[in-house]
Subunit: 313 residues, 2 copies
């Protein structure tokens, strides 16, 4: 039997799971429900049981499992200890130790879900071939994952790569979810794009297809592609904020590539054009050659990255 | 004979040199002139000759030299290759290989001077006891050195830690040395503080001791300590820019400590108070516990860090 590695992506409603060859080919993937009751105490046993059932079903011997990687929605340090995951009901404990015990000694590595997804994109996705990468997830919020020399930068308290909270607008009066004002997330998340659009629509009565129907990041970028002038103005503002924020990130870690993912990134390459223009304008010349790519693994980035977490460099 | 390690800090006019015990005690330090003529081709031979003379003088055997570390004013990659140092006349070549040959096989490690100085402050200076640190040098320009898990973050093209060029002011019309507008360096370097002061003085005729005599970062912060109202306004602006910039840095690398050095930092702890206030206001809560400390090694940070570069973690 050849060796395999398991990858687990723990979310608030479902747990995505898969197992892979060491080269990164997915053999099979499946999902289980995240049982959050009783302060989330069933979650890890459920996951370990599911892995053991899969091993039995596929006749995978324990010695053929290189390990199990898991990405979780909260800050995790380099030793696999989580520092609270509010939406799972979890406090502080070692995910690594608990899962290794439940799995009878199989090696486990744990990381923050956004960071782990970044690792997945580096291994088999939009950042393939690079070792210094910044993953940018434009979803409900704006998340980041920083990879330096092939390894996740977790930061001293697990708050590395929280690039959605870089301050980019002094004039902002509305408060971000984090409590500050003027965070990158307020303009470049899915809801941020809607906010920018509503503000622009209210400014004057310029004609736009966006005056009819529901406004979402998708409808805005669809309108951009159709040449809607107001939508293009919104995209320019979006690009200005994100370009400025990512230029700041580049001044710190000087990556080879930015990999843009999350719901907003479904707009496609048009998005990259708007970002690159403003990035180039604001970035230090030493980082001007950084590339921009779209994430390619979608919702599977987490299980890929979790598997890679175990495999190491 | 006990083991020693050499540290070299190559500057545009002088080369600072020293040798150390592996524990980081300096045994002796000295300087030689930087001979920049002939495209800087004498510089490394001069340095190696000086090291060999010191070894002869002190009867240090080759096998007792753990290695030689060197910090140079330009981007250096992880393999010791420099990518141009304009003010030395240097192009692209391996400093490590050339020096190892000149020194008959003694191990050499090379790094960027700002990064190497940061490593020195982590080892024996203001960042002692920490492994995740950002060094901020407020001198003629604003430089940075990022240390992650005890190692220098060089970045993919050696432009990691160029935090002086984070964009912090949209309204700026004057151009920074880098060609962009609104860089952190334009407000928080020694010349930046003078610019802020001159702008404030020109705004109205508020009384200030700064209206008489020469304006420098030193006279401004001396006036702050004496309670001069206008000077305090300038310090607040300085703190606002630097706090905002460092909050962005924290959103990326989440350090344990910021170590503030360079000429401007001679103002002392009053400086940290102005920075911390604004840092706390803008930073993501996960990075709010970061500490602020002053650099303590002064001009010796480079030779300490160069030595540490060879010793590793």
């Amino acid at each position: 039997m050849s060796k395999v590695v398991f990858g687990v992506d723990l979310g608030g409603t479902t747990v995505k799971m898969g197992y892979f060859t060491p080269e990164g080919e997915v053999v099979e993937k499946w999902e289980i429900v995240t049982r959050k009751e009783d302060a989330g105490k069933h979650i890890l046993p459920d996951i370990c049981k599911s892995i053991q059932e899969k091993m039995a079903e596929k006749s995978i011997a324990k010695e053929d499992v290189i390990g199990v990687g898991i990405g979780v929605p909260g800050p995790v340090d380099g030793d696999g200890v989580i520092y609270k995951a509010a939406n799972l009901g979890w406090g502080v404990f070692s995910i690594k130790n608990q899962m290794e015990e439940l799995l009878g000694g199989i090696k486990v590595e744990a990381g923050n879900d956004a960071n782990v997804a970044a690792l997945g994109e580096m291994w088999r996705g939009g950042g393939k071939g690079h070792k210094n990468m910044v993953a940018v997830t434009l979803g409900t919020g704006v998340g980041g994952g920083i990879i330096i020399d092939g390894k996740i930068l977790t930061g001293s308290t697990g708050a590395g790569g929280e690039i959605g909270h870089i301050h980019v607008e002094d004039a902002e009066t509305e408060v971000c979810g984090c409590g500050n004002c003027g965070c990158l997330e307020q303009y470049t998340s899915a809801t941020g794009v809607v906010r920018l659009t509503n503000r622009r629509l209210a400014k004057d009565d310029m004609a736009s297809v966006l005056r009819e129907g529901e406004i979402s990041a998708k409808t805005v970028f669809d309108a951009v592609k159709a040449g809607d002038k107001l939508a293009c103005e919104v995209a320019t503002q979006f690009g200005e904020y994100l370009g400025k924020g990512l230029a700041a990130v580049a001044c710190v870690v000087n990556p080879e590539v930015f990999v843009i993912g999350g719901g907003v990134s479904k707009a496609g390459t048009v998005l990259l054009d708007y970002i690159k223009d403003h990035y180039t304008k604001h970035v230090f010349h030493g980082s001007r050659t950084a590339q921009f790519a779209l994430a390619t693994l979608g919702n599977d980035a987490g299980i890929f990255g979790a598997a890679k977490l175990v495999l190491g460099e």
